[in-house]
Amino acid sequence: MNAKPLSATIRSVGLIGPGFDNWPEARAVLAGNVPWSPVATRIPSPGVLPPAERRRVGAVVKLALCAGVEAVDAAGADASRLATVFASAGGDGANCHAICEALASDDRRISPTRFHNSVNNAASGYWGIATGAMATSTIISSYDGSLAAGLIEALALAHELAQPVLLLVYDHPYPEPLAAARQVSDAFAMALLLDPRGNDAPRLQLGELCDAAPDTLPDAEMDAVRSGTPAARGLPLLALLAQGCSGKVVIDYLDDLRLELSLTA
């Protein structure tokens, strides 16, 4: 796919998932230093939001914001100056379910908060309110390949701006009855602060669209997290990062294509 290789250093990571409250916990597990306790993802509360907004937001927004804040803080970056790319396969399913239930009832009135939380860019909007960031913010979806799509857009944007870009990837399971039609195993969020400049951090490079099988994780239970949640498709890349290794990783993208990535430690 590349005319010229597109790459950026990974300055920092934010992570929330099953058994992981943050990136240091996940890094220790993925590096093989600590055993993994696969407990259900704990949804954090975003302290960056004003209290009124904090009460209104759904789990999806909390996940995205908290992972983003972790990555920004870890890098000592200024969130108000960062461009952002949000990527999510399904957005806020619980909110959508509540709206569809109301619309199917005799009383179709839906609350204004429900409606404004229904836009796919809710996480981006609340991020802007929380951080004051007025740079561009894009919200991308590509079904199970939403992470891959987000990476392409974020790396392209970082090169265009010649500035760091924060990529936030997040998904949350649907409630029933939607869950029967679209299964997401658990909540997961990952934030990467991607900097096109500098060489003092591991460098991620975009490879080709290919038809190789996606990379998996050696632990079958943890691999079920990867395959069960679109936002967790980057776990093999994060394992390389945690282990301080260079290598290539293939992740899911479109139904007939995968995306190859390489990491230089």
Binding site: L103, F115, N117, G125, G128, Y143, E153, A181
Partner: protein, 401 residues
Amino acid sequence: MKPLLISRHTATSCIGTGLDATRAALAEGRSGLRHCDFETITLDTWIGRVPDLEAVVMSPALADYDCRNNRLALLGLMQDGFIDAAIDAVSRYGAKRVAVLLGTSTSGILETELAYRRRDPVSGALPPDFHYRGSHNIFSVAEFVRHAIGAGGPAWVISTACSSSAKVFASASRLLELGLVDAAIVGGVDSLCLTTLYGFNSLELVAPEPCRPFDPARSGISIGEAAAFALLERAPAHPADDAILLSGYGESSDAHHMSSPHPDGLGARMAMEQALARAGLATADIDYINLHGTGTPSNDSAEGAAVRQLFGNATPASSTKGATGHTLGAAGGLEAVFCALALSDGLIPGSPGTRNLDPAIDIAYRQVPQHAPLRHVLSNSLGFGGTNCSLILSRAGGKTS
């Protein structure tokens, strides 16, 4: 930026299916809005409904994608030879060199809304014919178009509310500039559903009459539906005089509120300034502004303030929302196509629905269509949640006469 060639474009909305009908309606200043007769909705409001959409039939190969939104996408693709031009780009450049980047806000949610009425009374399950991936999922429309034309390059949907299908032009520009692809199918598709009609009603943002952008008596939006597509390629060294180019874009965030714009239009102004800078143009170079112009009191005054600060009250501007309604995620793409038509035809569209001008907004607002020589035009798309995008389109060979 290096300007990109818009080698083919098409639009389908309530004012017309395809470009001929669309340009005729714009030239006449005609509105396609009608009192809401959609589905079982009982709201007292006006809508921009695409005629005969219910009659569109999907081919069996794409039956999994059957929903109102993808039927609208298919109807749109079939106009003006667009689908043939897209397939031709795939064969010229190779499938993996063609991206499909589309904007939508609600995708095929209508199918889910209807399926919720048919839940199993005992188990609560959705009916077995409900197909999540082909309808509800936000990516559905890009996946459908990708399959319909055989493209194999990067594909995604941008869903930033009302700026969605303007921002895909910016994304595509980046991929072309970096050499990741040789062509991109961009645009937007959004269709009528209950979520947006009842949702905007709950925010008290829908008008009980056809919307009246920039009118002192404006009271909200009219919701519409549309499909708009453009084929973007690198421009040749010497494009034809009548070639339409994408020459700039700007993207910003309001960082203000989920459902109301920054009161001074600061985010909108930043997007316009960036678009001008990227195009290497001054405000005096812009011959027409297609305003976001939704018809809500706060949006129009914020956008009016931003345009006034930047352009003064000299640059002709209008809103076409009174013709088509606010087509939400398709609005940016639809109005980019209107700008391409304006450049081709030397026609500044009017503002159907606007009876009087808000005296508090001092810009060169145009209510009726007007012939004028045009070279560079700007289109604003300002999204719910505060995501803004401005596009600049240009005519390669100077002004129309």
